[in-house]
Structure formats: structure tokens, C-alpha cells
């Protein structure tokens, strides 16, 4: 009597065979060998080409953010093209005919190949990371940090925007041709950008809520970027002070001596603060009365960093997020290869990747982006706006700030960003694209003369 697990076993065996074939094809066609040489050249050669400022911190930035980032970019491109070739080239060369007449489902073949290529990516990524880590031996341990980033307790920009919107609406201060959503978006943006002036001799302070109790040692870092009203260089001299804000005792203070417009990261250590969940940090601006006032953007340029976890673990989290991105690129390549011939798929994939990278930093077009067109032109503009917003919405989860930038800055990769990357890169994208590929392969004539 056949086992009820038999159909599942058939699918699993077919998927494993498809995955093994994809890996063998990559290894035996010397793609992996060429890729390893290229990755080694990037990992070992790039740090020698990029000139830093000579400090261990800049060395760390170069080795992690630029070198590893470039290696991930190379892997991403290779993964995309390998994905295109896995179906596209096989169909073009008619090798897929023999596979297509076997009783394996198209989605199973797709999933097997995807898993095989992602596994290969994981191995290559681990090799590159191991190479980069070997080069970090000379970096002082004090720089290899993993810290949670806490923002100051401020009203949410959207709430603040709503409050200001109601106020402006009562006083008639809103532009007549601006819709409510556009006005709310504008006001929220203004809130995020708003600055607070710090005159000489004054004090400014913020309260922070930490995600977890402060570790033993009470070590904290206040990160801020100060500017002058005239955007000129100026001395930033003063004292940074931290104290519990949840009722306990314990304070610490440290002198600040830096320049405006620099990213200041001031370490504060107070063992008495261990276990605190809320802390208040203040900065006394100690300058003569004739010195320029400083300007700070609390929403953008102030943060408190608290230790959480080890550097190696944080690097692993960043690599996991990048692996999820590679998994999404692999899925995209496989699906394009299932829909088009290899040259068309490779071109479309590369063009899409270029659009993704170009749109990563582009702001989402707002209502104001619509020109004063009328009639069918206005409708066409609206359709293109909806399309651009749709593409942005689909790609944005995969195009957040680089997790390697977090690691290089000693910031723990946020759990929410990691979850989002994995959910989109290894979940939503492959699932959607696999179904599209299976439908295309069912519909496509695989043996046209």
C-alpha cells in the first residue's frame, strides 16, 4: 500500500535533484571558480585601492561596508544571471525538453533550483565573510561593537503633522491646491527635519527608552551631529551627562570637544546605570556668549547606543539579510528565465536591477509631482504615478539601508529590518515569483522549432 507521504517524497526527490543539478552546473561550468577568483580579488584588493583617513574606524568601514558590500554586489549580479541561465539557457538549448516530460511539477523544479543556488550563495557569502573577518584581526576590539540604537522620545512625526494640519486648517494657512494627504506628508517631513537651536551656555536634553535593560557596566554612547545656524565649522565644547529617568540613582558625565558637522559619538560609562530602561541625556553647550548657536535635528541626528550582543553575531545577522536579498534576486532571475530566452531574461534582469538601485534613494513621487496636464495626459500621468508607487512599494522592503553599514557603525541590525528582509527575500518574493514561473512554464511551448 503506498505511503501517504509518497507524493511529498516524490516532490522532495525531484526538488533535490533539480537543486543538485543547478549546483553541479554552476561548479562544473567553472562559474563558481571564476566567481571565487573575482570575490577574492574584491576582498583582498579593494581595501588596498580605497584610501581611508588612516584611523582603525575608517579601516573597519572600508573592510566591512565597501569590501563586503562590493562582494555582495558581485554575488548578486552572478546570482541573477545564474538564475536566468538555470531555465532560460536550458530551454534555449532544448535540454529542458527531457526534464519537462518527467512527472515533476514545474514549481518543484523551480523551488529545487532556487534552493540549490541560494545554498551556493550562502557558502560563497560565508567564504567572503571569513576572508573579511581574517582582515579584521588588527582592528581594535573596542571598535568591534554591536549596539542597539534608541531614538529620543519625541512625538511621532505623523501625530505632530496631524496636530499642525488641524491648526493650519483652522487658521486657513493651508495652500488651496494641496490635498490633505499631500499636506500631511509635507508636514510630517517638516517635523522630521525641524531643528532645535542651542545658544551658548544653554542645555538641551532628551529621554530615551531602551529596548532592554542596560547591561552591567552601564556603558552608553550618545551619538549626535550638531550644526551651526550659518552651517559653518565651530567648536563644540561642553559636557554630556546621563542619568536614570526611571526613578533610580546613578549618573555619568563626559566632556565633549569636537567640531560642528562631525558625527560625535560620546561614550558614557556609569556602572550604577546597569539595569536602567529609561535614561535622560543632557548636553551643556559651554561656549562664550559670542560663539554661534548650535543647531540639532532631534528626529534625525540624535541617538543613544547601548551594547547588545557580539560583533560576530551582528555580522552574521547582516549576512543573513544580504542572503535574503540574494535569494530574491535568484528568484527574479529564475522567473525571468522561465518566461523569456536567456539573452532577453539576462537583459531584463540587469535593467530591473539598475532601476531598483536607482530608485533605492529616490523619494516616492507625491501628488505634487503631477504636472498641470489635463485630459488624457493627466490620466496617463496618474497611471504612471500609480505604477511607480507600486514598484516602490514592492522593492522598498528589499532596499532598506545596507545592514553592513549598520555593522560597520557598530549598530545591531534591527530585528524588524532583518525580519522584513527575510520575509520578503526568502518568503513573499520567491513564493510569488515561483507561481508566476510555474504558470509561464505551463503556458510556454518548450519545444518550438
Amino acid at each position: 500500500m503506498p505511503s501517504p507521504l509518497q507524493p511529498f517524497l516524490h516532490h522532495a526527490r525531484a526538488a533535490a535533484a533539480a537543486g543538485a543539478l543547478a549546483v553541479r552546473a554552476a561548479i562544473r561550468s567553472r562559474v563558481v571558480a571564476a566567481l571565487l577568483v573575482l570575490l577574492a580579488a574584491v576582498t583582498l584588493g579593494l581595501p588596498r585601492l580605497i584610501a581611508g583617513d588612516g584611523t582603525p574606524a575608517s579601516d573597519l568601514q572600508i573592510r566591512l561596508r565597501y569590501t563586503l558590500g562590493a562582494a555582495v554586489a558581485v554575488l548578486g549580479l552572478a546570482t541573477l544571471w545564474a538564475g536566468c541561465a538555470a531555465f532560460g539557457a536550458e530551454i534555449d538549448s532544448r535540454r529542458f525538453e527531457l526534464t519537462a516530460v518527467k512527472p515533476a511539477r514545474r514549481v518543484t523544479l523551480w523551488a529545487g533550483r532556487w534552493l540549490g543556488l541560494v545554498l551556493l550563495d550562502a557558502v560563497l557569502l560565508a567564504a567572503v565573510a571569513a576572508g573579511a573577518c581574517l582582515q579584521l584581526r588588527n582592528v581594535p576590539a573596542g571598535l568591534l561593537l554591536s549596539r542597539d540604537v534608541a531614538a529620543p522620545e519625541l512625538p511621532a512625526p505623523e501625530e505632530e503633522a496631524r496636530r499642525r494640519y488641524e491648526e493650519l486648517r483652522r487658521t486657513g494657512g493651508l495652500p488651496a491646491d494641496e490635498s490633505a494627504p499631500a499636506a500631511l506628508r509635507r508636514l510630517a517631513q517638516e517635523t522630521r527635519n525641524q531643528g532645535v537651536a542651542i545658544p551658548p551656555g544653554s542645555r538641551v536634553g532628551w529621554t530615551f527608552h531602551l529596548d532592554r535593560p542596560l547591561a552591567a557596566g552601564g556603558e552608553l554612547w550618545l551619538r549626535m551631529r550638531l550644526d551651526t545656524v550659518a552651517e559653518t565649522l565651530a567648536d563644540v565644547r561642553g559636557v554630556c551627562r546621563v542619568q536614570r529617568a526611571d526613578g533610580g540613582s546613578g549618573t555619568a558625565e563626559a566632556p565633549v570637544n569636537d567640531l560642528a558637522r562631525n558625527l560625535i559619538e560620546q561614550r558614557l560609562a556609569a556602572p550604577a546605570l546597569a539595569g536602567a530602561r529609561r535614561v535622560r541625556v543632557e548636553f551643556d553647550y559651554q561656549a562664550p556668549p559670542q560663539a554661534p548657536a548650535l543647531l540639532v535635528q532631534p528626529y534625525r541626528a540624535v541617538a543613544l547606543l547601548a551594547p547588545h550582543g557580539a560583533f560576530a553575531g551582528n555580522l552574521a545577522r547582516a549576512l543573513l539579510a544580504h542572503l535574503a536579498l540574494l535569494a530574491a534576486l535568484c528568484a527574479l532571475g529564475l522567473t525571468l528565465g522561465a518566461c523569456f530566452s536567456f539573452p532577453v531574461a539576462a537583459f531584463a534582469a540587469t535593467a530591473l536591477l539598475a532601476v531598483m538601485l536607482a530608485s533605492a534613494d529616490a523619494p516616492e513621487p507625491g501628488e505634487a509631482a503631477l504636472p498641470d496636464a489635463t485630459g488624457w495626459r493627466r490620466h496617463a500621468e496618474r497611471v504612471s504615478l500609480v505604477l511607480v508607487r507600486g514598484v516602490n512599494a514592492a522593492l522598498r522592503p528589499l532596499l532598506g539601508p545596507s545592514p553592513l553599514a549598520n555593522v560597520a557603525a557598530g549598530e545591531r541590525v534591527p530585528a524588524e529590518a532583518l525580519r522584513r528582509e527575510i520575509l520578503w527575500g526568502a518568503g513573499v518574493c520567491p513564493l510569488t515569483l515561483s507561481l508566476a514561473a510555474a504558470a509561464a512554464l505551463r503556458r510556454r511551448e518548450l519545444a518550438r522549432p
Partner: protein, 300 residues
């Protein structure tokens, strides 16, 4: 096993305009256990018909049933073996890996795949080359690997597109012997060829395609029989006696009578010469190994 009705296939260009009608209303029936041959010149629609039967192309019109189901149904694919006209194998895989890969696509477990691969490699005389990449093989050797993969699931129905294409005469004979053996074991075989001798040697029934249409169909013996003529075959008759007999027959029938000496066909003569010269034994394919050592079939 296979039934088509009013099967049509029109290939269209990029703008969906009809370009060529490759199959124009083909109706076929292949019964269980028979060897059926599709004959026709190049471009007659043989390969297109086969690809329609396998679900690799979609028909413009008509119906297809393979093993009682639509051609793309996994249940019918599970019981079908296919050898394409050109053995498009993965060049970086060895024959053993190739058989293992296709066996796994049928859902066979690793032990069964290994056993099948061993038996099929022995059957196709590829044991010595079992661990060399297929990309290094000659066309004939690649064809053998293709044939082996078509049998990896121990299929009930074998669809072979030009099975002897690229093979030397000895290998051709071996393939034909194998097909007869498979037919004897109850397999249904549909093959295409434009080599008439191949089809004549192994097929029970044939259909002749031309311009996408079936021009003739039936049992080979029925189609080739000439009931209006009679042939005598006598050994040891001298020339004078033969001439006397010929005159007697002409006198009785009132029609001219031909007298000749029967000849071997070139294939038989070639095989005889090769065997006499001590070349590859006529039975390098050892189908009995595979047929006797069958494991469980793909359906589990």
C-alpha cells in the same frame, strides 16, 4: 495507449500570424503492446506530432489522450519514456549522474536509482564510460545515454524520435533488437523514423505522414503485401531447370514471369562482415540484464 483526433498544429510568428501548418488533422490510435511507426520525409510533421503527444507543444485544435489522460498529466508522464531526436543531455553530467537525475525526477529513491543506472549502463554498454562527462561523448554514445534515460522509469509507453539517428549499423541493429525485446515484454512503443528499413524491421503498424496528414496507415505486412503476385523460393535449382520453369509459368499465365536470385539486404551483409572480422559482438546491448533486473516501477 495513445489516441488523437483531428490534431492540428499551426505555428505562428511573433505577431500571431499563421506561419506554417505542421500537423493538419492527424488521427492516430496506438494500442497497448504494439510497436507503432510514424514515417515520413523531413518536415512531414512527425516530430511535431510527438511533441504534441508529450505536451511540449500545445495543439491548435483536436484532442490527445495518452494513457487515458491529457498529455501533460503527471500520471501519464510517470509511465512514459521519451527519447528526443537530438539527445540534449547536460554535458557536465556523467551517464551515471544523468540517469540518477532523471530517476529522481520520477520520484525514485536513491537505491532504486543506483540499481536502475547500473542495469541500464550495462544494457547500453556504457559501463566503461559511466563516469566520464557526457559532453565528451560521440553522438552514438550520447544516443545510448539518451535511450537509457528513456528507460529509467521502466515505462509502459516509450516514445522515441528517430531512435537510430547517429548510430552505426551495429548499434542500429542492437537498438532494433532491444525494441523487439521491450515489445515482447509488453511495452508499447511509438517511434518515428525516415529510415524505412528500421520501421519495417520492428513495427507492427505504421502511419505515413506527409504535409502534416496521415497518407496511409495499417499493419506493415498488410501494406506491403502484393496479393496479385506469387513468389517461389527454391534452393539448388540449376539455370536450365529454372528457365524451363519460367517458360512453363509464362505459358500457363500468359504473362511475363521474372526470375532472379534473392539477395541479403546491406544491413545484414554489413553485420555479417563485422561479426566475421571479430568486431563488436552483435549483442553489445544486453537488454536481458535490465529486463530481468527490474526494480519497482516509478509509480511506486
Amino acid at each position: 495507449m495513445i489516441e488523437t483526433r483531428g490534431l492540428r498544429k499551426v505555428f505562428r510568428d511573433f505577431w500571431r500570424r499563421p506561419r506554417v501548418e505542421a500537423v493538419a488533422g492527424v488521427g492516430l490510435e496506438v494500442r497497448a503492446g504494439e510497436v507503432f511507426g510514424l514515417l515520413g520525409p523531413n518536415g512531414s510533421g512527425k516530430s511535431t506530432t510527438i511533441k504534441l503527444l508529450l505536451g511540449l507543444l500545445h495543439p491548435t485544435a483536436g484532442t490527445i489522450r495518452v494513457l487515458g489522460r491529457p498529455p501533460a498529466h503527471t500520471a501519464s508522464r510517470r509511465r512514459t519514456g521519451y527519447l528526443p531526436e537530438v539527445s540534449c543531455l547536460h554535458p557536465f553530467l556523467t551517464p551515471r549522474e544523468t540517469l540518477h537525475y532523471y530517476g529522481r525526477l520520477f520520484g525514485l529513491d536513491a537505491a532504486t536509482c543506483r540499481e536502475r543506472a547500473r542495469a541500464l549502463l550495462a544494457m547500453t554498454d556504457l559501463e566503461a564510460a559511466a563516469d566520464r562527462p557526457v559532453g565528451e561523448f560521440s553522438k552514438g554514445m550520447a544516443r545510448r545515454v539518451g535511450l537509457a534515460q528513456a528507460l529509467v522509469n521502466n515505462p509502459d509507453l516509450l516514445i522515441l524520435d528517430e531512435p537510430t539517428s547517429g548510430l552505426d549499423p551495429v548499434a542500429c541493429r542492437e537498438v532494433k533488437d532491444l525494441l523487439r525485446l521491450l515489445a515482447g515484454a509488453g511495452k508499447t512503443i511509438l517511434l518515428t523514423s525516415h529510415l524505412l528499413a528500421d520501421v519495417e524491421d520492428v513495427c507492427d503498424r505504421i502511419a505515413i505522414l506527409h504535409a502534416g496528414r496521415v497518407q496511409a496507415e495499417g499493419r506493415v505486412a498488410d501494406l506491403l503485401r502484393r496479393p496479385e503476385a506469387v513468389r517461389f523460393l527454391v534452393e539448388g535449382l540449376d539455370a536450365a531447370a529454372a528457365e524451363a520453369l519460367r517458360r512453363e509459368l509464362e505459358a500457363r499465365t500468359g504473362r511475363p514471369v521474372d526470375l532472379d536470385h534473392p539477395a541479403m539486404n546491406l544491413e545484414s551483409y554489413f553485420l555479417h562482415v563485422v561479426a566475421r572480422a571479430g568486431g563488436r559482438a552483435a549483442a553489445a546491448f544486453r537488454p536481458a540484464d535490465f529486463l530481468l533486473a527490474r526494480g519497482p516501477d516509478a509509480s511506486g
